[in-house]
Symmetry: C2
């Protein structure tokens, strides 16, 4: 952190970027960082490879985010919330470095430490949680603008303090951000009560056609569904959570036909049931309770293969749901 | 609080009860309070008028909760999380008081202060939040058992820190309870990822038949649906939240046929749209963004009446969703 503080203090013009497929922690940390540095009188350019999602365009300063590369005058480059350099996308590529220092700030345990100076804290539940400490180290007092950006990242990356990554420190930081003027209930409202009609229609279809088969609750999404309802493929993620919330489901699975025709398989399981062996058998990966794989089409064949693996798994497991 | 501490310190046998239609704060505060007092060597009986819901039967000590009245030997009666005396149901009625002191602990602003000693804090987001302070005042150190019960109430009454009632103090208390050994992610998992297959089928039906009509997103539940799917009427609440999460819905409504054949109307609206006048016109009540009413059957007539009122409201309002 001391090296990071020194890099920042010595900089005049700063270029900051976050990752492709941005989420609340990407945008929140990018904007929060920029606001902190502007308090120190720095000029800051904020960049994302993709257009800012409607989910985050209300955040203070979001209108200043563009898909731009650093200018020759920028003397410090900063990567926020990206676990790999190439996750920054087109806005920052090796040719753009040009001998300038790269400050890397992130919380992903798999981070490859690709910066000149690295602030990596895998115990933090979000990159915004780290930026709270950075603001303190830089002696920048929090204002409502900074606090709103940072609390957005804290809230979204912990799914509202619900993930196992949430620590007492996450709550302490959130508390301080509320004291600094961030409105927690409004941030939660925007993060979790903000769906589109088309996506809720997709949810309805997926739930309506779900099947509970000896402890496995599954459903599917086809490209036809997405086209008919006008839902982008990226917005079709997250549906497996509805199925996994069911007590009777020891395992929940969603099969999604993706844009290249292959079948994306998202699996969730109850504590005590590890999906590791199934993910391995399918050539996929993930965590014991949340795993995935991508299989060749057609849908029916992919589904039969996955369900066979899961029933084999459950036949060898005796866990009360 | 000082009077409450004295009452408790002087007591030997304590009878504690919470409210009918119990929720996580009712059961969490009841059990948390009992565990705190047992640390002081008191004998505590815990009572609820209704059998403990499967949602809370895992809480430590839940198996000791019964629908019992105080015994003649009990020298202190305690009401937890009940806004009115009659909310305690059959386990504590005026005849049961028999001149004994009644300690009332609650956070509902509408509380009628019906105790001999009242600990009422409407700024607390849950009764469990108040019990955290009580444990400190009684010098009882928190253990994982107490912390688990109290954090359950903090989490459920704030819908996972999402309500406007959530304060920095709520987060501070939650942080301390995590430090004392409560598992936040497990509590959230049980509170929010614990549905039944039958109820998710009902959700599917309700979403599948929803209609978006000029800013009003509505759907309905009939007694036939509940019988067919085997969902108790009480478990059919909360569906309006799915509809209100949609950006295009300025108002969301669910019509539910209740057991006496009348139609329960649950309405939610986006900030800036007050349902007060509509609730009044329908003979109902509630808050600006969450209101309800009960109308005579049949379903179709009730629905037309409500939709007409809502369209009249929206025609006079110009708010961006």
């Amino acid at each position: 952190m001391r090296d990071a503080v020194q890099l920042i203090q010595n900089a005049r013009r700063v270029f900051a970027a976050s990752h492709i497929d941005h989420d609340g922690d990407a945008v929140g940390s990018l904007l929060g960082f920029a606001h902190i540095l502007r308090q120190l009188g720095k000029t800051v350019t904020v960049a994302l490879a993709d257009p800012v999602s409607w989910r985050f365009e209300h955040l203070p300063g979001a209108e200043k985010i563009h898909a731009v590369k650093p200018s020759p005058d920028d003397d410090l480059l900063v990567s926020l919330d990206a676990s790999e350099f190439n996750r920054l996308g087109a806005v920052l590529t090796p040719n753009d470095l040009a001998g300038r220092p790269l400050l890397m700030i992130d919380h992903h345990i798999t981070n490859s430490r690709f910066g000149t100076v690295n602030v990596l804290d895998p115990t933090a539940a979000s990159t915004c949680e780290i930026l709270y400490s950075l603001a303190q180290a830089l002696d920048v007092p929090l204002d409502p603008t900074i606090a709103t950006c940072l609390l957005t990242g804290v809230v979204t990356d912990t799914l509202g303090f619900r993930t196992t990554s949430t620590t007492p420190r996450s709550l302490e930081v959130a508390q301080a951000l509320m004291h600094a003027g961030a409105n927690l209930s409004e941030i939660c409202q925007r993060a979790f009560n903000s769906d589109t009609y088309a996506r809720l229609c997709l949810t309805a279809d997926v739930l309506h056609r779900m099947t509970l088969d000896e402890g496995v609750l599954w459903s599917q999404v086809t490209l036809d569904d997405l086209r008919r309802l006008g839902v982008p493929y990226a917005e079709s993620a997250g549906l497996v959570g509805y199925l996994n919330s069911v007590r009777e489901a020891r395992v929940a699975v969603i099969f999604r036909e993706n844009e290249d025709g292959r079948i994306d398989v998202s699996m969730r399981s109850k504590p005590g049931i590890s999906l590791a062996s199934v993910a391995l058998a399918l050539g996929g990966g993930g965590h014991p309770q949340a795993a995935g794989a991508t299989l060749p089409p057609p849908m029916n064949a992919a589904r039969e293969r996955v369900l066979a693996e899961l029933h084999k798994l459950l036949a060898g497991t005796t866990v009360s749901a």
